[in-house]
């Protein structure tokens, strides 16, 4: 498990299954069990607050997983995307502005996704087309987004309508503990959940997913069997931008309901940590996103609640400190292997 990019790649066969459970798997399962027990315990102790924390967890996780999926499509294709933060911010801005001007949340979402696609294309043009260093290319997106949204920011503008409201999924919403958190959410959250599952299947089972893996691991080999590496990388990075764009729209139109300067607040970067923690699979990333979302949700609860006297700034640090620990630990225990061609521009000979 330590040496592979993903066990699924090497077509599950006898030898993969018979190795038994890796320590990592044991730890994840044990962690999950402890977590469920804890949540259940807290729920019994204080139902309302636990529900609020779980709701906050899912809310924060949605944005993170959308960013993480954007990142992983790029990285599986060999392109590092450090510009997710900028993609979030810019899309949130256009989604908010268009929704406010047109009076339609849906048009806002369309604008956000389009902006994400456009920024994805810009990243592709720089890193795939012009072969700029990928990390610098992403940084350009971040700085550009911050500059442009600050410049065009209109303090007086408001959404002029309610943000996306929750939709109850019938009896599912009445389930204890997770009912409200998972099945009484606004529409974009559901859409994100569907995308997680669909993308997971596509990446691991589809022809597109396999070719994407090939261009990220060994673009030269992919080229010799007639796969157009440049073209596929362009498509992937551009389309992945659409996911970040949806994230931006979600942030402005469903999570917050307005736009403020630098509102992405580092979550585009946290999404990268989520992606790494989730081993570049959508389901894994969703699990990681829930974990990170939980730390964010706790922060909100701490601020509302006087039970614990921890300064807000220290609670605010939590997700970032956790990320550092996670990234360092991921390196220390069982180095995860990156796609072999990650970060390297591909040149057609």
């Amino acid at each position: 498990m330590t040496a592979r990019a993903g066990p699924d790649l090497a077509a599950a066969s006898g030898n993969a299954g018979m190795r038994g459970w890796s320590p990592q798997r044991v730890w994840s399962v044990a962690g999950a069990v402890v977590l469920v027990a804890l949540v259940w315990g807290f729920y019994a102790w204080d139902g309302a607050q636990t529900t609020a924390v779980l709701g906050g967890t899912v809310r924060a996780a949605t944005l993170l997983v959308l960013g993480a999926m954007c990142g992983m499509i790029g990285e599986r294709s060999g392109i590092v995307n450090i510009g997710i933060e900028g993609q979030f911010l810019m899309s949130a801005f256009t989604a908010f502005t268009v929704a406010s001007m047109s009076g339609s949340l849906f048009l806002g979402v369309v604008a956000g996704v389009s902006t994400g696609l456009a920024m994805g294309w810009m990243l592709a043009a720089m890193s795939v087309g012009l072969r700029t260093d990928q990390i610098i290319a992403g940084t350009v997106l971040n700085i550009a987004a911050l500059g442009l949204t600050s410049f065009f920011y209109d303090r007086g503008r408001s959404l002029g309508q309610p943000k996306y409201q929750s939709i109850e999924l019938g009896p599912l919403a009445d389930l204890p503990v997770v009912g409200t958190a998972l099945f009484n959410r606004p529409p974009l959250t559901y859409l994100a959940l569907v995308l997680v599952v669909v993308l997971h299947v596509l990446l691991l089972r589809s022809v597109w997913g396999m070719r994407t893996t090939a261009i990220g691991e060994h673009p030269g080999a992919a080229a010799t069997v007639g796969i157009d590496v440049i073209r596929l990388r362009y498509w992937n990075v551009t389309l992945a931008g659409g996911l970040a764009g949806l994230g931006g729209a979600y942030l402005a139109l469903e999570s917050v309901g307005t736009f403020t300067r630098a509102m992405s607040g580092g979550r585009g970067f946290l999404a990268l940590a989520v992606m790494i923690f989730g081993r570049r699979t959508p389901l894994g990333a969703y699990a990681a996103a829930l974990f990170f979302g939980f730390t964010t949700a706790l922060q909100g609860q701490f601020q509302l609640n006087d039970t614990f006297d921890i300064p807000a700034q220290f609670v605010g640090m939590l997700p970032f400190v956790v990320t550092i620990i996670v990234v360092a630990a991921a390196g220390l225990f069982g180095r995860m292997r990156d796609p072999a061609a990650l970060g390297q521009p591909y040149e057609v000979r």
């Binding site: 040496a3 691991e217 030269g220 010799t224 007639g226």
Partner: protein, 544 residues
């Protein structure tokens, strides 16, 4: 896309499977191919013979659609074609077995074979069908592989079979094999040649690229010799001899049998044994009397993937002798060298150099003890391409006097040292300020050798010291290594070229799966014996 053999048989047989007419290809000022013409007919094996840099790879890359020719035409199945990418060539039934396998290491064998031409069901890969097709092909051609194994877990020979299957899966009627034997033992090579022969029986034509004369004589139907981008000879094995081919290839008479082997051992697999004549001038002292410089006991080391690559290996090298490590690549030679030189962590065992314990020493300590190291991978370890020749000439000694004092670099001393190295080791460069990347492969290697030889050393570790460089540079480097040996330096030579090991070594240690399985005297052992040892045969079976 059903089964290769049926399709081949069903179609009308073309007269010419693959041809290039008047191919010219330039890279900047370099003319890699100059009006080259070749022709392959069904059921035949065409050998393209030439030194490194003769233009063989460029030619096949043009025929395969990877490069576009500046002039000339490509013919596939009697038709003139314009190839804009390998896809076009593949679609017309041309398959390539690359020298550096074009496989995606973490993916399974089946997925690698079907990649780019996947059987699908609603956009998903139809795994069952893919697997079935691959198994059918493997059975038909006798190319056995585990379809579900990850490619990175397979031995080299099996990976090569995957490459061949990949081409056959795409209905290849022409198979281009680029130096396919470079990574194989003599026995595996024979097996491969049998497989290729079997393919021609089913109507496939094969372009076989090599610089090994023995293989050409054994397997080819037609031979085309390239030199400096031009065709210098077209012949058949019946009409020529190894000596004649070698002369064509190198452009001057080559002393093939000047080395100490019986010519009955046929052995000169490559034309580069020219300088072997020197090796009879043994140093006066018999190796046994001189002190042991390098003493390795029970050394273990893992490869990059954490698998044990060096397995309780023990070996000693004395002053004034060259010990050559022979073996098929990937049997732990690289890890052995890296563990000795401190580039890799040894998990167990001891290394002692000049009676000092160097187990677990860092690269700096190893250098300071008095070890020169010509690393296997020039570009990765040996040089910093963007640095000047001058900086590279002190790459691992920049901190020593006279190159530095009080933490400051002394540019004047570094530059004058570099000019010395350039002059003494015949490094062709406009000046010492030029970046190392601007040098040719042979000159880069001479720069490295010059650097490693310019300090006092007791031990020289030379890994693949002549890989991919021209004959002139090979002769030069061989001569320098022998001179060092004669001056009393202990030399550990690791090379995948059996001919190089045989030509230089006083003793040959055969390495297999991380161990030294036998140490033989190159004056008495035959290629076949060593080949069997390299393939893992027990020494007892080989002897007598």
């Amino acid at each position: 896309m059903v089964a290769a053999a049926e399709t081949v048989a069903a179609q009308a047989e073309p007269e010419v499977l693959l041809a290039g007419h008047g191919i010219t290809k330039r890279f900047g000022p370099v003319v890699a191919n100059d009006d080259v013409s070749v022709e392959l007919r069904p059921g035949r094996i065409l050998a393209l013979l030439g030194e490194n840099g003769a233009g063989k790879s460029t030619l096949v890359n043009v025929l395969f659609g990877l490069h576009r020719p500046d002039a000339g035409q490509v013919v596939i199945a009697d038709e003139h074609v314009e190839l804009s990418s390998p896809h076009d060539a593949i679609a017309r039934g041309v398959g390539m077995v690359h020298q550096h396998f074009q496989l995606v290491p973490p993916m399974s064998v089946v997925r690698n074979i079907v990649l780019g031409a996947e059987p699908r069901k609603l956009g998903m890969i139809d795994v069952a069908q893919a697997r079935r097709r691959v198994m059918d092909l493997a059975d038909r051609f006798g190319l056995h592989v585990d379809p579900d194994a990850a490619v990175e877990d397979l031995p080299v020979g099996a990976q090569q079979r995957v490459e061949i299957l990949k081409a056959l899966y795409r209905d290849a009627r022409v198979l281009i094999a680029d130096e396919p034997t470079a990574v194989l033992t003599p026995q595996e090579t024979d097996h491969l040649l049998d497989v290729l022969r079997g393919l021609t029986d089913q109507g496939v034509g094969i372009v076989f690229i090599t610089h090994k004369l023995r293989e050409v004589m054994a397997a080819a139907d037609d031979i085309v010799v390239l030199r400096e981008g031009r065709v210098v000879g077209t012949t058949t094995p019946a009409q020529t001899s190894e000596a004649a081919l070698a002369e064509l290839m190198v452009g001057r008479a080559v002393d093939l049998h000047g080395d100490r082997f019986e010519s009955g051992a046929t052995g000169v697999g490559s034309a580069v044994s020219t300088a072997a004549a020197y090796s009879d001038e043994k140093p006066a002292a018999e190796a046994g009397e001189l002190p042991v410089v390098l003493d390795i006991a029970g050394l273990c080391a893992d490869d990059d993937r954490g698998q044990r690559a060096v397995d309780e290996l023990s070996l000693a090298v004395r002053a004034g002798e060259i010990v050559g490590v022979a073996g098929v690549e990937g049997n732990g030679q690289r890890e052995l060298v890296e563990a000795i030189t401190g580039l890799r962590h040894a998990t167990a065992g001891t290394v002692s150099i000049s009676d000092r314990d160097a187990s677990g020493a860092r690269p700096r300590q190893v250098t300071v003890i008095g070890v020169g190291h010509i690393p296997e991978d020039r570009a990765k370890h040996g040089l910093i391409g963007s640095y000047s020749v001058a900086d590279n000439s002190v790459l691992n000694r920049y901190f020593k006097r006279p190159f530095a004092a009080g933490g400051m670099l002394r540019r004047d001393r570094i530059d004058s040292h570099a000019r010395d190295v350039v002059a003494t080791f015949d490094v062709r460069t406009p000046d010492v300020e030029s970046p190392a990347d601007s040098l040719s492969g042979g000159n880069k290697q001479k720069l490295i050798v010059g650097r490693e030889f310019s300090d006092e050393i007791d031990l020289l570790i030379a890994a693949q010291p002549t890989r991919g460089i021209d004959i002139g540079a090979i002769e030069f480097i061989w001569r320098r290594i022998r001179e060092r040996r004669d001056e009393g330096t202990a030399v550990l030579l690791v090379s995948a070229e059996l001919d190089e090991v045989l030509a230089l070594s006083d003793r040959v240690a055969v390495m297999y799966e991380g161990r030294i399985v036998a140490t033989v005297d190159p004056r008495t052992a035959t290629r076949e014996e060593i080949g069997l040892l390299m393939a893992g045969a027990a020494p007892a079976e080989v002897g007598s």
